[in-house]
């Protein structure tokens, strides 16, 4: 068995993990499962793609930053894409989720997110067609790094980016007043109001962080695989599995859950064949739920 699956698994796991952070935050703070989260990924990726094209039209062809396959336009476009996705999430909250939340029944909001998910996806297919597209068609040569493992410069860069973002979000939620307010909201919304926390502003931060990371995860998929309207929806269930596996509300848990699922999927592809890929995350998820229903880093409800 080749150890190549470790690199593949870590990459898939990073995408799932970054997406799962948004899922776990929405679940613990806004108290619903957001099925439109995958579509934030796709929208973020297409927004980034559009921004790359716009920059290309304005500045002409820009040479990639060697040895990566992309240049500064993609980096700038990613930041634009993240901002766009955050705005999209805030807009969707204003016109849809905030209204549904007032009914105080999680299932209504969940169903609303299902609808939003389908609408967002169809809209993407309408605008961009369902034909796959790419940030770059250049082929990157993977470098051997020993033990039979090969990795491309893009892959290394994206793994590093994931690590930086995860650390950043972890510090934001544990070391800052904003993060403490988010924790407070997830543990006791009524008491959060009593201690003077403006619920609306915590809700905004939650959407911004979740959506921006969804955009990054989508762009990673776009760089390493391809861009399609279904790209986010297709990894929605692994993201939920990762969030639950890690323990709802836990950011390190979501990322670790993503990595475990990514590695298990990649390992399964090698061991039992690619058709088992999707089944693996659910077998792991069920096994964890039987042994430790609150997930790896979860904490028992009061």
């Amino acid at each position: 068995m080749s150890l190549q699956f470790v690199v593949d698994g870590l990459l898939t796991g990073s995408m799932i993990g970054l997406g799962a952070i948004g899922v776990t935050l929405t679940y613990s703070i806004l108290r619903f499962s957001n099925f439109a989260h995958g579509d934030f990924m796709a929208w973020g990726t297409y927004a980034t793609l559009a921004a790359v094209s716009a920059i290309g039209a304005l500045f002409g062809k820009v040479a990639p930053i060697a040895p990566l396959s992309f240049g500064w336009p993609l980096i700038v476009a990613l930041v634009i894409g993240m901002a766009f996705t955050a705005l999209l999430a805030l807009l969707l909250d204003k016109v849809l989720f905030a209204r549904l939340r007032r009914q105080e029944q999680a299932i209504i909001v969940v169903m609303g997110s299902f609808g939003a998910s389908m609408a967002l996806r169809s809209l993407l297919e309408f605008i961009f067609t369902s034909r796959p597209t790419y940030f770059s068609r250049a082929i990157q040569i993977a470098m051997p790094v020993g033990l039979g493992i090969r990795i491309t410069p893009d892959q290394i860069a994206l793994l590093l980016l994931t690590a930086v973002l995860v650390l950043g979000v972890h510090l934001l939620t544990t070391r800052t007043q904003t993060g403490r307010s988010m924790q407070a909201m997830s543990q006791n919304p009524a008491l959060a109001r009593v201690v003077g926390i403006d619920v609306a502003s915590v809700v905004r931060v939650t959407w911004i962080v979740g959506a921006a990371l969804a955009c990054v995860a989508g762009v990673m998929i776009g760089i390493l695989v391809q861009i399609r309207p279904f790209m986010g929806f297709d990894i929605l269930l692994p993201m939920f599995a990762a969030a639950i596996l890690g323990g709802i509300g836990s950011i390190p848990g979501a990322v670790l859950g993503g990595l475990i699922i990514g590695l298990a999927e990649a390992g399964a592809v090698q061991l039992v064949g690619a058709e088992w890929r999707a089944a693996v995350s659910f077998i792991i998820l069920m096994a964890v739920l039987f042994v430790r229903p609150i997930g790896l880093f979860g904490v028992r409800e009061r």
């Binding site: 007043q177 403490r180 924790q183 407070a184 543990q187 006791n188 008491l191 201690v195 003077g196 403006d198």
Partner: protein, 249 residues
């Protein structure tokens, strides 16, 4: 001398529209006082102070804080306005450390003030200082109540409002909580509290109101209220012991 910090006028409030639980209650809390709200179960005591804190919708009446109308102020702004509320249950963030519980509440202070104020709280409650890194959910009932009170005091409130601070505590902790409230008042904080434990609350209180069916039915000086026959009639909980001895009172 009698400067009203909190002036509640003819308040009507309830969770559902058209179903008021508080039905025209009026109470006044003067600066430096401990005011106790007593009443039988279901009298609307809790709903009354939750309505004052902005947590139960108010359909009629007024809440004035330091003369300012705060009737319509959202709950999260009340603490900024100077009213700190301590709920009866679930009054700490259980998964956060003691320190983070205090920090999250200190968030409304000026950035530079907060650390010093947290230290002052630790000086006032040494038990909390010893456990600053523990999760609040792991504290004992009494310590949790201390943390909830410290969390409320951290913002220098004009009035501290507590919902049954002694509920669910063992007798040892009950007397500790009342001693703590007495000490807090001596430090200059005005207190309004709702209590089931009438005797202990009246022992530390200055004045008291008896709430029956959502309305204030009786008011008096705390030290004499315990023996007041009207209270015995209204308050269907524990009857004053002296009633028999007092004969045909």
């Amino acid at each position: 001398m009698n400067e009203a910090v909190l002036d509640v006028r003819d308040l009507e409030a309830g969770y559902e529209p058209g179903v008021p639980i508080v039905r025209g209650a009026s109470i006044i809390v003067n600066k430096g006082e401990i005011v106790v709200v007593l009443g039988p179960n279901g009298a609307g005591k809790s709903s009354l102070i939750k309505a004052i804190a902005g947590l139960v919708p108010i359909s009629r009446g007024k809440v004035l804080l330091d003369g300012k109308d705060v009737t319509a102020a959202p709950a999260h702004t009340m603490v900024h306005l100077g009213l700190a509320f301590v709920p009866q249950t679930e009054n700490v963030f259980p998964l956060m450390s003691v320190e983070d519980n205090l920090k999250v509440a200190g968030g409304i202070l000026e950035r530079r003030q907060a650390p010093a104020r947290i230290e002052e709280m630790y000086a006032m409650f040494p038990d909390l200082a010893r456990q600053k890194r523990s999760a609040a959910g792991n504290l004992s009932g009494g310590q949790r109540q201390m943390l909830a009170v410290a969390r409320a005091l951290i913002v220098h409130p004009k009035v501290l409002v507590l919902d049954e601070p002694s509920a669910g505590l063992s007798p040892k902790f009950v007397s500790m909580v009342f001693e703590m409230l007495s000490a807090i008042r001596k430090s200059g904080v005005t207190i309004l509290l709702v209590e089931q434990n009438a005797k202990a609350a009246l022992a530390i209180g200055d004045r008291a109101y008896v709430l029956v069916e959502g309305k204030d039915r009786h008011e008096g000086v705390a030290s004499t209220l315990w023996d007041d026959p009207v209270v015995a009639e209204l308050y269907l909980g524990q009857r004053p012991l002296k009633r028999e001895a007092g004969g045909a009172a």
